[in-house]
Symmetry: C2
Subunit: 270 residues, 2 copies
């Protein structure tokens, strides 16, 4: 069994466990601020993934949202970047619109990506070089669309920020329309399936985007930070994902006008 | 058969037709501007609804998005307010996240509401006084939540507008988080099911909100314009929907600070 096949079985099993625990009570705690929530389900799911991966592959590294592997400072060997519940606020308020996300890297190179929309039973997955899939359905390479004919994913919160607002406002104004779903992993795969033309956010952790960015690359989408630089799985990043033409347009003709502001923003991430 | 029972069968049949036509080509035209789209499916669905309603109930009035009954200037008798595809941009770009919406009024009083999320096969429906349902599942009366613990529905586009931006920004900032799904009918029923705490938008047509607002009232939610005034099914409105406490908070402590601006905005609707 390849690591890809093993991971595919594991994430489906983890999803199955999530739907079971959801029938019981969801226990909610806050983390860094009152809106940064974590539940018993986030913790149990990360524990399940971590323990199974380490039991099967003792030499692999696991970086997870809820505390595993935050001391990993290299990309040598096989690194799993895991978000047990991406979209925890949706999980708590809606009991849907969340995903389990896994990105697997070998010596720093993307190897396989998984985003599992548990409630809708949609597993987005790929092994690099072999095509990306929504369940058994092969995803097409992304078509090129202009911003004027694209629906973009961007959270209204960012437009209220003094430095980000003026930078992001022209993008929203020039787009066909904007959406916000509250799960970065799902929003990145919505770009990969063509449901969104682009997704932009000023700050994500590696576990939020690792699985999705690998799936997106497999359909020839482009994912970088807001400066157009490669994403790193070892620290937070701003994230811009889109089809290649729209991505270039966003970086060159919109975000490029705010390069100094963005450089300062990114210094905080290191 | 009651009008409610008839309407329930009719909207399910209309949804069934939509999924069939979607298998063929979707033909897209623009209306008032390049982002105001209409498809052959919008038109065929409204025609189907209009013709069936008029055949069964020749004395009923039908007001529909795609042109039927725009000469109706009264609320006497039975009035059906119909949106054949609410969320046409989603329909075109995503082939999901759209709904068929029907609100039925008798002598101006809400009688029955329907919002059909066709792709997920979820029919939200109510006959006033008999409870609201998601398919066969009875919806609970809305709990009261503060803005700080609520996810609100609001489109990022509105935050870019010179007059609306400053008015809506504090609401987004004080909320737990914000979402934008691109279908007013669905966003109103998401408030009715508790998935969103509130939904706010500065301009909707009656067919966008008629079905949803009746369902929302049935679970004791509150729907008014941004001035706190009742919604009218005969002209456009701004819309604020929420549980009763949060609704009062939004009207009194946020939107009430911009009363003069709002009065001017609403003069355009008459």
């Amino acid at each position: 069994m390849t690591v890809y096949e093993y991971a595919k079985g594991l994430i489906l099993e983890a999803g199955n466990n999530v739907t079971k625990i959801m029938q019981q009570d969801i226990e909610i705690e806050t983390k860094s601020n009152p809106n940064d929530l974590v539940t018993n389900v986030d913790k149990a799911t990360e524990k399940f993934l971590f323990e199974n991966i380490k039991k099967t592959y003792p030499n692999h590294f696991v970086i997870g949202e809820e505390g595993h592997g935050h001391d990993v400072t290299h990309t040598n060997g096989v690194v799993w970047v895991v978000d047990p519940i991406d979209g925890t606020l949706n999980f708590v308020h809606q009991q849907e619109n969340f995903a389990i996300s896994i990105g697997i890297f070998k010596d720093g190179e993307p190897y396989a990506g998984f985003v599992y929309d548990v409630i809708n039973n949609k597993l987005y997955h790929c092994k690099v070089g072999e095509g990306a899939f929504e369940n058994e359905h092969l995803l097409q390479n992304l078509a090129h669309h202009t911003l004027e004919k694209s629906i973009i994913g961007i959270n209204p919160n960012w437009l209220t920020k003094p430095k980000l607002g003026p930078m992001l406002q022209p993008i929203v104004e020039d787009s066909r329309s904007a959406r916000a779903y509250g799960s970065a992993a799902l929003e990145i795969v919505f770009v990969a399936t063509g449901k969104l033309g682009a997704y932009i956010t000023p700050r994500l952790q590696p576990w939020d985007f690792a699985g999705g960015m690998i799936i997106l690359s497999e359909v020839r989408g482009k994912a970088t930070n807001m400066l157009g630089e490669p994403l790193s799985i070892l620290h937070p990043n701003s994230v811009v994902v889109a089809n290649a033409n729209l991505h270039d347009d966003l970086i060159n003709n919109y975000l490029g006008n705010y390069k100094d502001t963005l450089i300062k923003l990114h210094e905080r991430f290191k």
